[in-house]
């Protein structure tokens, strides 16, 4: 075994990560080569210093509490009550009673004033998820898992990761280049997210199989400056979301729907 190879394998040797044959070869070489033996000793010396210093940090208790309460919806409400300045800390009963009363009042008023709010429809719920997924995806580096403008790269990538094969179309010639793809999670399942670009605007298109399998016309709604369009076609449910203007987005959806279809829109 050469000195070069031996020195490259020194970490694996001392951490017991080499196979038996390599280990024996290393031992033979190290016995006869003072230079390599010195390298090993140097590395072991540093490792010993590192281990002896016990430098690992432990998560502060307050962080653990904060994470646990952020997972619990009830605890969130508890925190909000506290933040609103209700200083009944010693009287837990009152605090809870207060919170419950507020909840009851709130739900009563919702019931009376705006009946549709009582139970958001599936579409409303998905629209909210689509909206927040889009916003989150625009945060640094969340937008794309795979960066490719080539539908022949993207399609197999999705096929390997999902239990369905989403339609992937490139609309570059129409001014909406495909720029990448991502896996996302919506409506309790994994979905394909295709990212298109129009000037400086990004469009997220979420695609997953629809349970009913029937085609439906698209509908548009807007939420906090973003436009959301939904439609289904060819057994897939599709949601497009962007800060593009409603007419541009509608044009995009029309192109996408027509791309692989002989049917007029």
């Amino acid at each position: 075994m050469s000195c070069d190879l031996t020195q490259r394998l020194v970490p694996g040797y001392m951490d017991g990560e080499l196979d038996l044959v390599r280990t024996i070869e290393m031992e033979t070489h190290l016995k006869d080569c003072p230079v390599c033996a010195q390298k090993l000793e140097d590395q072991q010396g540093v490792r010993a210093v590192l281990r002896r210093s016990s430098l690992a940090y432990v998560a502060p208790a307050v962080l653990r509490d904060r994470i646990q309460s952020s997972l619990r919806p009830s605890a969130k409400m508890d925190m909000e009550v506290r933040e609103n300045g209700i200083q009944w800390r010693s009287l837990h009963v009152f605090r809870w009673a207060g919170a419950v009363a507020v909840l009851i009042l709130f739900s009563l008023s919702c019931w009376q004033l705006t009946p549709p709010l009582r139970e958001p429809s599936t579409d409303q719920r998905i629209a909210a998820e689509v909206f927040s997924s889009h916003v989150r995806s625009l945060e640094a580096d969340h937008l794309m898992d795979v960066l490719s403008t080539d539908q022949h790269t993207l399609k197999p990538w999705f096929d390997a990761k999902l239990d369905f094969s989403p339609p992937v179309e490139d609309l570059t010639s129409n001014g909406f280049p495909l720029v990448g793809g991502r896996l996302d999670y919506l409506d309790g399942r994994e979905v394909a997210a295709l990212i298109y670009q129009r000037r400086n605007h990004f469009i997220n298109v979420f695609v997953w199989p629809t349970p009913t399998g029937s085609d439906s016309a698209h509908s548009i709604e807007s939420q906090q400056g973003y436009n959301i369009v939904r439609w289904s076609r060819g057994g897939f449910q599709c949601w497009a979301v962007s800060d593009l203007g409603a007419s541009d987005l509608a044009e995009f959806v029309r192109l996408l729907k027509n791309y692989n279809s002989s049917e007029p829109n």
Binding site: L9, P11, G12, D42, V46, L55, Y57, A59, I67, A140
Partner: protein, 176 residues
């Protein structure tokens, strides 16, 4: 799975690795408050993607998310060199390190000095050493978490330890 059951399972299987996630975040951000923020975001992302976990080491899974969250955070909040560009440097420089024995000098290294020397190492070496020496992970797990080959993991250890040794001996020789 109901929301409650899902949360309970998450708390039982993922939260035991909170210290490991915080430790990695603490060493990569080099700051307690930032590490806390990153760790909290890590846990929320892990909770969101909990259904995607497909067996294997839960700690490695969480640490992969923690690491990605850290680098995203670092790129957004600090002037941060991309780790890839650093890798080029690793492969083009020769594996080296002076051979004079400084073991006795190293023996005098106190915790604070070692801590500082490790903090000053480039991210790729620091994270590899943290995962190995503090979390006791295998090379294979480290390769998976840091998304590089086993060979790269090994060369990062060699280089990381050599650099650490050089900076410790320089610091200690200056002092004594």
């Amino acid at each position: 799975m109901s929301d409650t059951a899902r949360r309970e399972r998450f708390e039982q299987t993922v939260l035991p690795h909170l210290d490991a996630a915080y430790n990695l975040a603490r060493w990569l951000t080099r700051n307690d408050q930032d590490a806390q923020d990153v760790t909290q975001e890590t846990c929320l992302r892990a909770f969101r993607f909990f259904d995607r976990y497909q067996g294997g080491s839960m700690r490695a899974w969480l640490l992969t998310i923690a690491r990605n969250t850290c680098y995203t955070w670092l790129r957004k909040n600090r002037q941060h060199d991309s780790i890839e560009s650093f890798d080029e440097e690793i492969h083009s420089t020769e594996l080296c390190g002076s051979a004079d024995p400084e073991i006795q000098v190293l023996a005098a290294a106190d915790k604070e000095t070692v801590n500082r020397a490790l903090e000053e190492l480039p991210d790729v070496f620091r994270e590899a050493l943290v995962l190995r020496e503090m979390e006791g992970m295998s090379y294979r797990e480290i390769a998976k978490v840091t998304a590089v080959s086993l060979g790269t993991v090994m060369s990062r250890f060699a280089r990381g330890r050599t650099r650490l040794r050089q900076s410790l001996t320089a610091e200690l020789s200056r002092r004594y």
